[in-house]
Symmetry: D2
Subunit: 434 residues, 4 copies
């Protein structure tokens, strides 16, 4: 198969969407096609166009679209009449998932977590984590970080930094403060020390937190990657001040950084972990919250949700765990591809006096402005690459390719991206001239 995307030349007719669907939608605005089929790293529109996916459903498709192993497992399950919706009843599909997750993920990492199936959205997993932390500690305040993103329901939205998203709440968002993330105050200020100072000062106005909620790499916030040392300090600060450490691993987890959990490299063990996005492996709604067994102090039903027993997701998630994580080959591949990505982005950055961000297969190029980044991603889409931006000012061109992308496809896609950057950032052509 050729490595080349072949986008359709024309926009689809989107009048149906304009007539019937809310204007809240976003991605379809910059990528106005109608998609039908998808497989691996490729998406197909209904006019025969083919697109290379460098977005992966915002890291929900780490194994690509409709991976054949997962797809077959799901087909088999449905055909056999397997139960689909089961609230929180015991099911064979759940049992298989619990065993796989325990045996393949937790035990080898010496992690002892109790598994909670929340409503199947990341924000729901975060809401559950916040509730549990507040219940356990009897405290109400949460320390989150600048540029953090944790979801859109009121509890997790209060932990999210983005002003536009926050403004949508329509009510003030309380019980949370946003402290400077690693590097936020420049290279000379250790923001972990700042946090420690404030928590140690009984007159700082920072209430004792129930939890410190952190992403190891801030996906929506601009692919800011915390250093392992900073993460260890934060873990130690949480412990010293009686707060639980919650790692929101919804975007960075499930292998995106080269480990299953993004905090493994740092050698920390969070009290609570949230997972979603790529957890089902096939893009099905699925989320869960993990916590140390001693923290499992929920009353039955104290947090629940109609779709917390999504058996289709149990099935594909189990297949994904068994297929990709039973040994270390896949993880090693991801690390290798992450280095490739790093080298390529560094080269682009050097060429144009820019900088890069991120870790593993979760990296981006700081284009200097939202305008420049938008120009780059628009150029890429014109050539058939699905790619998006993130960051405070949408200034980061974000590469979130499927982790399974083959090396030659990846290289070719990055070649194309490099050209788009060059075309855009060169004075004669692009925004940099302004």
């Amino acid at each position: 198969m050729t490595l080349e995307p072949s986008p359709s030349p024309l926009s689809c007719d989107i009048s149906l969407y304009d007539r019937t669907e809310s204007r809240v939608r976003t991605y379809c605005r910059t990528m106005p096609r109608q998609f039908g089929r998808a497989e691996g790293v490729w998406m197909y529109d209904d006019e025969g166009g083919r697109y290379l996916d460098f977005l992966s459903g915002c890291s929900s498709l780490n194994y690509g679209h409709n991976h054949p192993v997962l797809k077959q497992a799901l087909l088999d399950y449905i055909e056999a009449g397997g139960i689909t919706h089961s609230l929180d009843l015991h099911t064979e599909a759940k049992s298989a998932f619990l065993e796989a997750f325990t045996d393949i993920i937790l035990k080898p990492r010496k992690l002892d977590y109790r598994i909670m199936f929340t409503g199947p959205t990341g924000t729901n997993a975060v809401e559950a984590a916040l509730k549990l932390a507040r219940k356990i500690t009897g405290r109400q305040h949460i320390v989150a970080f600048t540029n953090g993103f944790h979801g859109m329901t009121l509890g997790s939205l209060a932990c999210t930094g983005n002003a536009g998203k926050r403004g949508g709440a329509g009510v003030p968002l309380g019980h949370v403060s946003h402290e400077p993330f690693d590097g936020y105050c420049g290279p000379d200020v250790d923001t972990a020390d700042l946090l420690d100072q404030r928590l140690s000062d009984p007159s700082s106005g920072l209430d004792e937190p129930a939890a410190i909620l952190v992403e190891t790499v801030q996906g929506e916030g601009g692919l800011n990657a915390a250093s392992a040392e900073w993460l260890r300090k934060i873990a130690s600060i949480a412990k010293r001040h009686g707060a639980l450490l919650i790692v929101d691993d919804i975007q960075a987890g499930c292998g995106r950084t080269g480990e299953f959990f993004s905090f493994e490299d740092a050698g920390i063990v969070p009290d609570i972990v949230t997972l979603a996005k790529s957890l089902s492996g096939m893009g099905l709604p699925f989320a869960m919250t993990l916590f140390r067994p001693e923290l499992d102090q929920w009353a039955p039903g104290e947090h629940n949700g109609t779709f917390r027993g999504n058996n289709h997701a149990f099935v594909t998630a189990t297949a994904a765990l068994r297929h990709f994580w039973s040994d270390g080959i896949f993880a090693a591949d991801v690390v290798r591809r992450g280095r490739l990505l790093e080298r390529r982005l560094e080269a682009m950055a050097r060429e144009h006096g820019l900088s890069t961000r991120g870790r593993g297969m979760m990296r981006g190029l700081d284009a200097g402005s939202g305008e420049a980044a938008a120009a780059i991603t628009a150029a890429a889409f014109d050539r058939g690459i699905i790619i998006e931006t993130s960051g405070s000012h949408d200034e980061i061109v974000k590469v979130l390719a499927p982790l399974t992308i083959e090396d030659d496809v990846f290289a070719h896609g990055l070649d194309m991206l490099e050209e788009c950057v060059r075309t855009t950032m060169t004075p004669a052509f692009g925004v940099a001239a302004e």
Copy 2:
């Protein structure tokens, strides 16, 4: 096929769940089996037991388990490599759903709603509705009702009446007050008038609301059904006081009351409607928020969610709309079955001096106490019926059978339930003696 359930005599081994899954789970405690296959009204455990489903995933399975038409549509879609996860990009599956929902549901009912795909949980649809109402009106307060249930994330949880659920928040739940639902203050007090009085009194302490949020039949709150007249009054009060009317139709909608929307009988047109549970038709996670086009003042991405483009759910939902709602036959069946249910429950109530609640196929028997109701449902489970309770004190035995249940199966199941009630409520046997 026999009408008789045949439960397995023994509990399954649940040690795996105890070891690995959080104790937050509920249903599996009173129904300790491990389920595998499910079809129509029947669920099967892994020891060969067969169970009649009078719970329907809390009204998420209105068309029963794995309905063959929906199942086949999903299998076809997956086999063809249809895109699974698409954020809010345009897809063929979405397009088909938008057309079906518009043509089959909205147009015939002369409803002009813009469709918003929220995160695929009911609570997410409610959060979106609340945000929008607050944005549109510039107000912050929400009027909800006693015994209302709207979800578990902080925004919707604030609108939920249940003290145990509320307590789980760990922070105070604000910006909402709970006014008496229809009938709450006894037959002599019109609680709509009370609400109007308070909203008309500038010194009542009740802030001007952004919205009045109401269920027409309170599912979790005890199957309290508001009268059509009361609903019309509430709609008129909302309008008069500049508040939007939100009908949370997550449990009562999608045909449960015999109409697609539970508010059709009352002749009201809410400003905003939330749907989830049975929307996908097959129990897949899917939710949406509908609103009048003038209210579609979202900024792009102001509310979003990773799984808002769940194409599997688009596919099954489209199939369900086309199969069940293209003409009036299904709805008429539901109405008829609802009357059957009413007659049978009334007879049970009369026999034991009890009362009934509800509307359509969403009805229950007030057993007088949570203890009595639990005894009845336990007895029913022993005979192979999956059935649950609801209400302030879990005192309502709730019958939420699939709407597709065949008359003889339904009648036999109700015969069995009647015997369980009799056994339990008769002094010689049961809790009533105490």
Copy 3:
């Protein structure tokens, strides 16, 4: 001395105020004079006008202006160099007050209250009461009542019903709900029972309250007087549901209803009581919060305020207690004058088909509309009577004369008021025609 007021014919020059003072001021708008001297029931403007005070500083001057006994005590104290400001240090003036309050007020009523000197404003006393109730119970919610008024700082403002005042907060006011006061839902609904129902229903959405905060007579809310029976029910409900009962006696206390505390008649003993307004006896800023000794669980300084040791107020308050409350003569006088007031207002109400409100010397005439009430008070001011309105729509003409008013002066003032009502409410003249 003549009984007749003699108002100045012309407004004073208020340009100084317009130039320099904020437009937030209110009373001076409808009573545009500049006052200089005041004595007993009389106020004098700087153009020689004389006014009969039927407002008494909103019940802050129950003993009239500058009562000679209090005035002399204060002059003696200042001349002797008595300490003025002392934070919460021990002082002779405080010691004298503590002894007088204990011996004259608490002991004879068999009340065992610990005395807390809060910041010298009513709202501060309420804030302290709320803090203490929340601390003691570990709960956050407060049940207040429709039309209640408790102050203007954020904690007490949240308990205040008035929408205009609440709107001034600029932030949502939480942790409080306003339940219907006695009589709010008409004569057929017992609102205490309603409250009990909601507190007994774990799904009503009404959180367990730290306290029930009530005025026995709602001064700002329209002189609504709760019945003794209702108050006893509320006291019992508070106890049964683990909430503290706070009586805000800031306006109704210090003798206004004929007893020192307005709740004495009802035979209840609140857990916490707030006092301010007439506490100093001479209109000096002074407030305190009383509570049962077991509730005195404050940490030192947990609530404080710069002016909590206002020795001038200690001196005049002590003199007032000794002069007016050492025996029952004054209280009997107030009761007698209250009956006179009741008879006179009832006669006015009967004549015009209106109704009256209130208790003791805290009574008003419901003029039917704010417009009518404003016309009456304006006519009264033209004749030299200082009088104001209250109520949801400012529809109550409020008579708050000094409790010390002599019978003939009071009768003459009420004659004048009667004429103003007659002139205003008679179709040929007034607003009633509209």
Copy 4:
């Protein structure tokens, strides 16, 4: 008169207080005497003891106790029957104050402020300032600072940093964040720049503030004095980000720093200023909020309070303005005395390797620990000096002498303090050895 204090050797009998007054009291615990008379810098107990006041009612007695000019003005007013309590009616006493404040304070400083008489406590003035800022901007968030102190009612308490005070609220304190004050992050970090960065970053999680609320010198927070440059930066940041600048000058204002307003040196003009404490000049309850005329957008009565017309305070405040501020002599004296204080404290600091804090006559010695500071103030009290601590850990020995203190008395008092420091901090004697 001798310069020497002569404290009574024994504690007074405080059993009356223990029996009747709440345990919330603080100062009387470390200074267990009962005071009667006070004059200038001297306080007298009821056993003949004499004490030098280095606390000045926490800066409420900047002109000393019962200054003869103020005292006489008040006596004259009371004797003449001047009205005491007048709500917000126009009075001669108010008129005189408005003229004096405008002519003596505002005009010479080219300040054009509208004057609002709030309830007579500092916290009430702050609550009014916050309400106004929120109303004007339509925003809800307030930026306050670490170690700030602004009062004890819920609105101002939310702006206060002290954890013990905050904990007393019993509810979470929202709508405020505490950013690092000048110097909080050490000498190398410009905390104004940090604030600017966060406000400029739409993803920082810091909501757009209605106001930045700042003390120029943090009295309770440990006498941290902001630099003029930092204050100018903060003023500019507020303006640039659409926030109002509120200077809380309750403790540092009224001459304490050598200017009438503490922000004069910095050359900034706040949008809103709060004053209280020494405003009446004699320790009487009095507070006000000043703001630019364009900000005077209050609705009548939108914020009010029973004691907002405290005429005794108008009288003494007017006398104080005329006596002390009609020319520059007093201010120059304060500056001179402030330098004396600085030199003396610096010497003590040098001797013991400690540091000093503060500005003008608002300075302290950082004793290194709360224990050391308590030992110093206890030793000082034993010798007849009334002195207190402040700071996050009560580690600052705070010298707040009356501004009117004569040089020889001041010098002698500082000699005594120096000895107390020496005795306490010398290893052989004191806490430093531990």
